[in-house]
């Protein structure tokens, strides 16, 4: 006997939307085994991982705070992914956004009022992210270089560039030689939405961008054309949809959103430039985009889940003395189960006699 996968004639809508839930449950089961293997009581561990972090208002604010960059980046990436434009370098684009927006804050922080400075920082951040995304877009449209590779490699260039900046030109002279910039002034910091928490205006911005992206994809002809390009290259050429424009738009949308998220981090919870501006939000957002089915509502929910994994991972480090890698382990497990569930949505396993 062996198992073959046969394509289902039409995957059911219920299956498409329950697959992420099934994947989440399977991830929890694996978590159970992992906690057991570490000699922790699984129930206590689950409590520390998934319940304790959001048991109070501050925790919920943290959940939303960490969900904001994920939501923002995943929304931008999804626009490209739907058109088969594979931007894997959001982490680098986020870094560039933090650099451009942050530099603006450091240079004009004292001269400009917040009402002018903050929008200018966001614009600078979006432009920075787009510039970084423009490199793979140019290489793809001009030389047909694979954007998966080029965008990914540029992440490391961006990280090293930031590292050089905070070790060199942007280093705080009063910072005891630590590789970090000056703290941003108050007028360069995002307003707090909930008093006594760190939840700031970038959450509202993320929600707004999700809404705008939804309108763009569903209601605008360019969003429609990008969906066509992703579904059928032949039909796109037939309809005169430029593949170059599709690649440029797909890359730039991801770059702009990642750049905004970079500013949100720099001018939000961090408040200065550090050698690392994100705990891997740019990569985690790829998972968020797919767990959310590239759909705005799905992405919003998936970003909450991923944010919870971040918080749970921190909490598990503090309360259970588990290694920090546990966050990455849960992210990877979730993506693995989601992809597996996707296969089963589209294919049905069947036992066949291995006669021939």
């Amino acid at each position: 006997m062996r198992v073959v996968l046969e394509a289902r004639p039409r995957p059911s809508h219920v299956a498409i939307w329950t697959a992420p839930l099934v994947a989440t449950l399977a991830t929890l089961c694996v978590g159970f085994v992992v906690f057991e293997a570490f000699g922790k009581n699984p129930l206590a561990a689950f409590d520390a991982f998934f319940v304790a972090p959001i048991a109070n208002l501050y925790g919920i604010a943290e959940l939303l705070l960490k969900a904001s960059p994920l939501m923002l980046i995943a929304t931008g990436l999804a626009i490209g992914y739907r058109a088969n434009v594979w931007n894997i370098g959001a982490e680098g684009q986020l870094t560039l956004g933090a650099i451009t927006g942050g530099t603006l804050a450091l240079v004009f922080g004292d001269a400009w009022p917040a009402a002018a400075l903050l929008p200018a920082m966001f614009i600078a951040g979006a432009v920075g992210g787009m510039l970084w995304a423009a490199i793979p877009a140019f290489l793809r449209t001009r030389f047909n270089a694979n954007e998966i590779l080029t965008s990914l490699m540029l992440v490391y260039v961006a990280t090293l560039f930031l590292s050089w900046l905070v070790h060199g030109p942007l280093r705080d002279p009063q910072g005891y030689n630590f590789p970090q910039s000056k703290l941003f002034g108050d007028n360069a910091m995002l307003p707090i939405l909930l008093p006594q928490t760190r939840l700031n205006a970038s959450f509202a911005l993320a929600l707004a961008i999700v809404g705008v992206a939804w309108l763009f994809v569903r209601r605008h002809i360019v969003g429609f054309e990008m969906r066509v390009a992703g579904l059928s290259a032949g039909a796109a050429t037939y309809a005169g949809i430029s593949w170059r424009r599709t690649i440029w738009l797909g890359m730039l949308a991801g770059g702009a959103c990642a750049g905004l998220a970079g500013v949100g981090e720099a001018a939000g919870p961090i408040g200065q430039l550090l050698p690392s501006m994100s705990p891997g939000y740019g990569f985690a957002a790829i998972i968020v985009a797919f767990v959310g089915r590239l759909h705005p509502l799905g992405i919003a929910l998936a970003s909450l889940l991923m944010s919870l994994l971040y918080l749970g991972g921190e909490s598990a480090q503090v309360n259970l003395a588990l290694p920090s890698a546990v966050t990455g382990l849960f992210q990877g497990t979730l993506l693995f189960f989601l992809l597996a569930a996707d296969v089963l949505v589209n294919y049905r396993p069947r036992m066949v006699a291995s006669a021939s």
Binding site: R219, I221, F224, L231, S232, G234, A235, A239, G240
Partner: protein, 515 residues
């Protein structure tokens, strides 16, 4: 009605029933095929022919009914099982891997053999049946007609006892059709049974010895087609009389589409390079381009539609405006509409709804406002197209791939005509489409001509070209013969040009050897 003296049937179906959500595709169908019989299965699109054939070939499982093969009850598990039994099938929609070569595609189906020996057998087989094929060529570079040859040769190589042919002649030249008929008769005389699915009533009368007619999933009649007239067969099939296109004399005006010494280099080693192609299509006429596919149709159509842009802007003109360097969207804005030969994946996005597919090319004030989609306008246009062209679909939200080939084609034709074009290009407009829809599509093209639109039809079907065209030219090896008014030429002459005779003296003596 089977003759009592005939031998035991090779294949016997009893009470085959298959229900899909919302439609009873097959409803208690009985069918017997004797050894050496060429048995026609006739019916309009959606009559259940394809479902029935897929059941025999093991792709679809029936909900009820019994299949007997050589007297034994069988449950055909899958296509491999069917092939093992000795059933071969040539599909209407091809099942070829586009990135593989002809030989590799065939080897995959045969499950054995080394490529070089197989290539030799393919060459032998294609020479024997006049189905020119290059085994090393990759399928994605081939036209629809060439792909069909691969399917036919692939099937014949496995030496089936029952050969199912789903509309095999729709893309062949008249000479190749009679060649194929010779092949099929020879196979039948060797004892091979043939199930021949078609809606070409003349062909069925010439070839088949028995016919089963399906209508709405049921057997609506059985007969010996040799004793029937085309009209009586049609009546059995559609339950009424066949509509005939009305063709009035043309009054052509100024050229709306002008092509001047167009050269296009083939972009792959097995493509066809176009050389010095010049013609024009005037408003109020239908200009036909005949030719076996693979002679440059693909390249010519891409150059005309703007899917491939040209270095020389003045090689193609639309209403006097040079558009050679313009992309498809700009040419559309100048009044060009295009019906491509591939429906799924080019003319329509399979996963998208009909409404979304309408929006693919319908860009006007009703559907768009400053780039924002007016869903209501798109829906209205879609409903109107579905209604006007009698498209059988559950509604504007039906995915394109849920439609049968003929219905999707009607939708695409309707959509393109709905653009109110000045120039319409149609490639194989009725390929694989049933008689009723074919007549409807041809009539729509003629009506368009009468509304002073310039229509270019690229087709392999001579019947079609002679029925609707006003002038005709032939594409062979990337060169276009001089255009002739339809009354000054004949199917024989065009057939010879399609096979490579030089136009100056289209006599058989100067046939360029193609074999």
């Amino acid at each position: 009605m089977a003759d009592s003296s005939s031998p035991a049937p090779r294949l016997s179906l009893r009470g085959i029933t298959k229900r899909y959500p919302g439609v009873l595709a097959n409803d208690g169908i009985d069918l017997d095929v004797a050894p050496g019989e060429i048995h026609a299965v006739l019916g309009e699109n959606g009559a259940g022919k394809s479902t029935l054939m897929k059941i025999i070939y093991g792709i679809v499982r029936p909900d009820a009914g019994v299949i007997r093969w050589e007297g034994e009850v069988v449950h055909v598990a899958n296509a491999a099982h069917a092939r093992k039994l000795g059933i071969g099938m040539v599909f209407q929609h091809f099942s070829l891997f586009e990135t593989l070569s002809v030989a590799d595609n065939i080897r995959l189906a045969l499950d054995r053999g080394n490529t070089r020996r197989l290539a030799k057998r393919i060459r032998e087989m294609s020479a024997r049946y006049g189905l020119a094929l290059e085994p090393r060529r990759r399928v994605h570079t081939m036209s629809v007609g060439e792909r069909q040859r691969v399917e036919i040769v692939r099937c014949l190589l496995s030496q089936p006892q029952l050969l199912i042919m789903d509309e095999p002649t729709s893309v062949l030249t008249p000479q190749a059709v009679s060649h194929l008929f010779g092949t099929l008769r020879r196979l039948a005389s060797e004892g091979v049974s043939i199930l021949y699915i078609s809606h070409k009533l003349d062909e069925i009368r010439a070839l088949c010895t028995h016919a089963t007619v399906l209508r709405a999933g049921r057997v609506s009649g059985e007969c010996d087609p040799r004793g029937e007239s085309t009209a009586s067969l049609a009546r059995m099939m559609i339950g009424g009389d066949l509509p005939h296109p009305v063709h009035r004399a043309a009054h052509p005006g100024t050229p709306a589409l002008r092509v001047e010494s167009l050269d296009v280099r083939a972009d792959d080693p097995f493509g066809t390079t176009l050389r010095a192609i010049s013609f024009d299509v005037r408003e109020g006429e239908i200009f036909g381009i005949a030719g076996v596919s693979g002679n440059g149709q693909r390249e010519l159509l891409a150059a005309l539609s703007g899917e491939r842009t040209l270095a020389r802007d003045d090689a193609v003109r639309l209403g006097g405006t040079p558009v050679g360097a313009a992309d498809a969207k700009r040419r559309r804005a100048l009044g060009l509409a295009f019906i491509p030969e591939d429906r799924l994946g080019r003319g329509a996005v399979p996963e998208m709804t009909l409404a979304d597919n309408a929006l693919l090319t319908t860009r006007n004030a009703a559907t768009l406002a400053r780039g924002w989609i007016r869903a209501r306008g798109v829906r209205a246009f879609t409903e109107q197209t579905i209604h006007a062209y009698d498209v059988k679909a559950s509604g504007p939200l039906a995915p394109a791939r849920s439609l049968s080939g003929g219905n999707l084609q009607k939708f695409i034709v309707g959509r393109e005509i709905g653009q109110h074009p000045k120039v319409l290009i149609a490639a194989q407009p009725t390929w694989g489409v049933d008689v009723g829809a074919t007549a409807q599509i041809r009539q729509a093209l003629i009506d368009l001509r009468d509304r002073r639109v310039a229509v270019l039809v690229v087709s392999e079907e001579l019947d079609e070209l002679f029925e609707i065209c006003d002038r005709l030219a032939v594409l062979f090896h990337g060169r276009l013969s001089p255009a002739k008014p339809i009354r000054e030429t004949s199917a024989e002459e065009v057939g010879l040009l399609m096979a490579g005779a030089t136009p100056a003296h289209a006599a058989p003596r100067v046939l360029v050897d193609q074999q």
